[in-house]
Symmetry: C2
Subunit: 338 residues, 2 copies
């Protein structure tokens, strides 16, 4: 845990309990009531009980940071959770993930066909969320928000494909990792903030700054996630230990260790990755190497750089409680607590 | 083949070779060039070589029928093909279909994960197609078009889920068939025409009439498809004979036979459906029963009713070559040639 970040460890949990967080939780429940409709049943399963609603909270605060009203952006903010939920539904099928948030993944409970279709439905609901309650926002800004969401959705898919191509391939990993996380995670957090800015009525400069803020938060968030997979306990992350290694996925700490390692260690890293860390002592050896090569420290530094870039983008905005929240989220990304 | 429809048998093929059809084919190829990008490679595989582009052609003509310019609606018209392609990609996984248009289905060639992601990408590209080149259309009309697409996308998913629930269940089939095809096929053709109307700048009345026209075309089209599965050869349909029965799917002719059949025949129909027509002589017996009970004739009549309703909706539009094309498509749906 970095010194600067330590006081922000509970920031996201506090945000979820803030007025904005409670409003979003309440609206999400209201918009997805219990029902007999199978598509809505599975959607509810994917969306509720809600997590921390970090993405919708960021959309709300991005809108408020440019002078927009929360009411005008509430539906679209929840739409960001629908896109996130759709991605989880499809990713869990793709990655053969059986457990999500401590419960069977949706495709385990409802079957793969229904989970595919519910993901498609939630993608459509994300677009609907932007256009169905446009509030005071000009149609031109709404159209720009739709275009941004469509582009981000495609980026997410491209990032996922790239990630799959990196499985078990360290040279591809080193080469494509930055682009992969820009597409897979950067694009989602980017659009979460950009849509808030656009529907909040932002001028071009402020919208672009908030988009870059979001992208850098996404990059920091992804590196944080990569790190937690190695340095945190399953209780902290809610995922199995060394989950990425178990999926044969070379993430940043692993790739940095590979780059810094001696040739013999490189060969072994590749072998360990290809057998998904299934050998006796694989996990311990990788963890030791990550420390020895300075890979963990180096990944932490990259995370801090992204967080700092994010914070710096906020300088163009007039000071406000929402800007403070966005800055706090940047601090939180480097605090390494779940 | 009905007498009224016989002269329209080649109408859709002729349309594909018309100026609009050639323009759409050319633009589709231009927008999806050969590339190394895996997502675009699989998208190309799903979209090209193009079929008859019936849906984009309908979007173009709906726009022209209300005085819109083809240039303003070209991108969105192709977007209808992207949505259709996305549905095919995901449906082929869901229905375990191995062959599409005489080639291995995309998930066979590229794997299920890539096919899921490419479907998601094409959904996003459909939305992007509406907003990225709005032309002369007012932003308000563009926003309405996005809302219509989002609603239709969700309807498609709901229709697919409903269809899956009907597999092997004839009581559910009889009860849910009309709603299922309204959602699964009606909604797509509805939005294909509604988006053309909106982006063509239609007034509310004309847009609503074209939406109802499209929905009825979709219903006629679905019944036609159901019928062809029983009465046409695999060469005509490009699918295996009795494909629906082979999937345990009770379609309209089958359901009408069930309703008209004696109790003993009903039991056998259910048994045949549950074994997916795999018993010796099942297919022949079902075909005989479809004729004996008048189910084929009755399905043809329902098809004709939908087609006639579609044609009737065109009455509010000023006469034009595009209105003639839309009327011709209604005639074609009852011609029962592929």
């Amino acid at each position: 845990m970095t010194v600067a970040g330590s006081q922000y460890r509970t920031f996201i949990d506090d945000l979820a309990r803030s007025e904005s967080g409670r409003l979003l939780h309440q609206e999400l429940g209201r918009r997805w009531p219990e029902t007999d409709d199978q598509l809505a049943v599975i959607s509810r399963y994917a969306l509720l009980p809600a997590g921390k609603l970090l993405r919708p909270i960021m959309t709300l605060h991005a809108a408020e940071a440019v002078g927009g009203s929360p009411a005008d952006v509430l539906a679209a903010a929840l739409g960001m959770e629908y896109l996130h939920g759709a991605a989880e539904l499809h990713d869990d099928i793709i990655d053969d993930v059986a457990v999500r948030r401590g419960r069977p993944a949706a495709h385990i409970t409802y079957g793969i066909p229904s989970a595919i279709l519910t993901g498609d439905h939630l993608i459509c609901r994300a677009f609907a969320a932007i256009v169905d309650e446009p509030g005071a926002t000009s149609p031109g800004h709404v159209v720009a928000a739709v275009a941004a969401l469509a582009a981000a959705g495609s980026d997410l898919c491209r990032g996922q494909i790239l990630e799959a191509q990196m499985v078990g391939d360290l040279e591809a990993g080193v080469r494509w990792y930055p682009e992969m996380i820009r597409l897979k995670t950067g694009a989602l957090f980017r659009v979460v903030c950009l849509i808030g800015a656009l529907l909040g009525g932002a001028e071009q400069d402020a919208a672009s700054a908030l988009a870059r803020y979001g992208e850098n938060i996404g990059l920091a968030f992804q590196v944080r996630d990569d790190l937690l997979d190695y340095v945190a306990t399953p209780e902290q992350t809610g995922k199995p230990a060394a989950n990425d290694l178990g999926n044969g996925r070379p993430t940043l700490p692993f790739l940095l260790a590979y780059e810094a390692a001696a040739d013999s260690e490189r060969s072994r890293l590749l072998a360990v990755l290809r057998r998904h860390g299934s050998g006796d002592g694989d996990a311990g050896w990788v963890n030791d190497l990550l420390k020895k090569t300075g890979a963990v420290a180096s990944a932490r530094q990259q995370m801090a750089v992204h967080a700092e870039r994010a914070r710096a983008e906020l300088a163009v905005l007039a000071p406000s409680p929402s800007v403070d929240v966005l800055a706090g989220i940047a601090h939180w990304t480097t605090s390494e607590a779940s």
